[in-house]
Amino acid sequence: MLIGLVTALGRQFISFLSYFGKTTQLHLSIWRGLLTGRLGYRVTVQQLAEIGVNSLAIAVVTLLLSGMVIGYHMSVQAGKLGVSELVGWFVSETMCRELGPVLVAFVVAARVGSAMAAELGSMRVTEQIDALRAMATDPVDYLVLPRYVACLVMVPLLVFIGDIVGVTGGYVMAVLSPSINQTVYFDSLPGNLEVWTVVAGVIKAAFFGMIIALVGCHQGLTCRRASEDVGRATTRSVVYSIMLVYAANLVLTTILYPK
């Protein structure tokens, strides 16, 4: 039984190393393509629209509602502690540092990362990826680069917009509290909320965008030639993206917001 357990753990470890190696290889290919000017601009613009514009509504709704919930809790707790004048600052810190980047990353992973895995996976099953290669076109250059760049640009932009929406949502709930008047919420921001807090959150979002594109495209390009595996690749892309976003968030938070 012990041998079986060790074997199973060893297999999982080797599988993890293999996955890590393959995604690193893909990431290097992406950057080689970018640095040698192989990015197709027309396809990239399409992806910018697909990833950014089409994800805007769901990101805004998510961040607005989350901001309202945080605003409600903060105003209640701050009222008890007698620091109601700082509610705006508390909400904006929460949104810009953590909730904005992480929630947008989840939304994009679910909506865009899964779509990338499904689209590229079905292209692999129907030999379209092979057809591209047969036409002397590198699938990484043609399919992955535009998606990667689009995520790298649009996820931070969505986070910035989401931060503003979230803080505004917090305002709506906070002003309903009897202890907070309409001006004190935004008056607490100058002098308390630092520019770096917002910028660091946007930087985190750029890393999350890279993770989502990398995982989604890798899952699609490496899924086996069976329709059922496209479904599995799609699910895996969301699960892996979210887990990696959690891990990256921990590392980036300690680096970007030192004590």
Binding site: M123, T126, Q128, D130, A131, A134, M135, A136, T137, D138
Partner: protein, 263 residues
């Protein structure tokens, strides 16, 4: 050896095992090709026939560099393609074309965009010139006027013909056909056969045609290779193969259920 006499394709002792699929499933490696050697000469139509699952499509995928053999060597256009990085392989692929068994059209693009794809990425032709060439090649395969349709709107046979037009538009030196007439009506199958022979006669284009349609293959090929269980069992002219006493060839050509080929 003079350049003109040198084979345009040379496969030497090819062994190919389906490692990727087997590894993922935890199964043993399935041997697809087991020590196969052959040569294709410049300007000939070279047919490959064999049972379903004999490894015919794998041969084409290996020649195109889409998969790497487990061992052995493949030379295409005078250069070994084993272990070449993708960008080096692409230089060789620019002089080749491939028609896939199920067409493999890019389903997010129109028929015209599919056919124009390689030209738009590789040539410096003007938009009008590309449009003219696309229409000309669609007409060649009997698909004139379908440029604005999406692949999902086409039948299997129509997709296949668009796939052939897409492979031909760059005027490659070597073209690989995987079951070119499967799913086509007899008239259109004849049109495609005439096209393959015409490209050889007019432009000296080398074709490798994979199919299990014996009569079609014998009608268009200069030489035919028969494979069975990953090995070459015969390779000769169609006339010689008809007259051979090789029991594998005879059973396959006559379509007999009993013989050395296990069904």
């Amino acid at each position: 050896m003079a350049e003109s006499n040198r084979p345009i394709i040379r496969a030497c002792d090819l062994v190919y095992r389906a490692e990727e699929t087997a590894m993922a499933d935890g199964r043993e490696f399935q041997v697809i090709l087991d020590g196969m050697s052959f040569e294709v000469h410049r300007g000939e139509v070279f047919g490959i026939m064999g049972m379903s699952g004999a490894g015919k499509t794998s041969v084409l995928r290996l020649l195109m560099g889409l998969v790497q053999p487990t061992s052995g060597d493949i030379e295409v256009l005078g250069r070994s393609i084993i272990g070449l990085p993708e960008y080096e392989l692409n230089r060789i692929r620019e002089q080749m074309g491939m028609c896939f068994q199920y067409a493999a059209l890019l389903d997010s693009m129109t028929v015209a965009d599919n056919v124009a794809f390689a030209l738009r990425r590789r040539s410096h032709l003007s938009r009008q010139e590309i449009e003219r060439k696309v229409e000309e090649h669609l007409e060649r395969v009997g698909m004139s006027g379908t440029g604005n349709q999406m692949p999902a709107e086409l039948s299997g046979g129509m997709k296949k013909r668009v796939g052939i037009a897409r492979a031909l538009i760059t005027e490659p030196q070597v073209i690989l056909y995987d079951e070119p007439s499967a799913g086509l009506d007899p008239i259109m199958a004849s049109v495609i056969d005439n096209l393959i022979v015409g490209l050889r006669d007019e432009f000296g284009m080398t074709s490798v045609v994979v199919t299990h349609e014996v009569e079609e293959l014998f009608g268009i090929s200069d030489r035919v290779m028969m494979i069975y269980q990953g090995k070459v069992v015969a390779c000769d002219t169609p006339e010689a193969l008809r007259g051979t006493d090789n029991p594998y060839v005879q059973q396959f050509v006559r379509g007999q259920a009993h013989g050395p080929i296990a069904v």
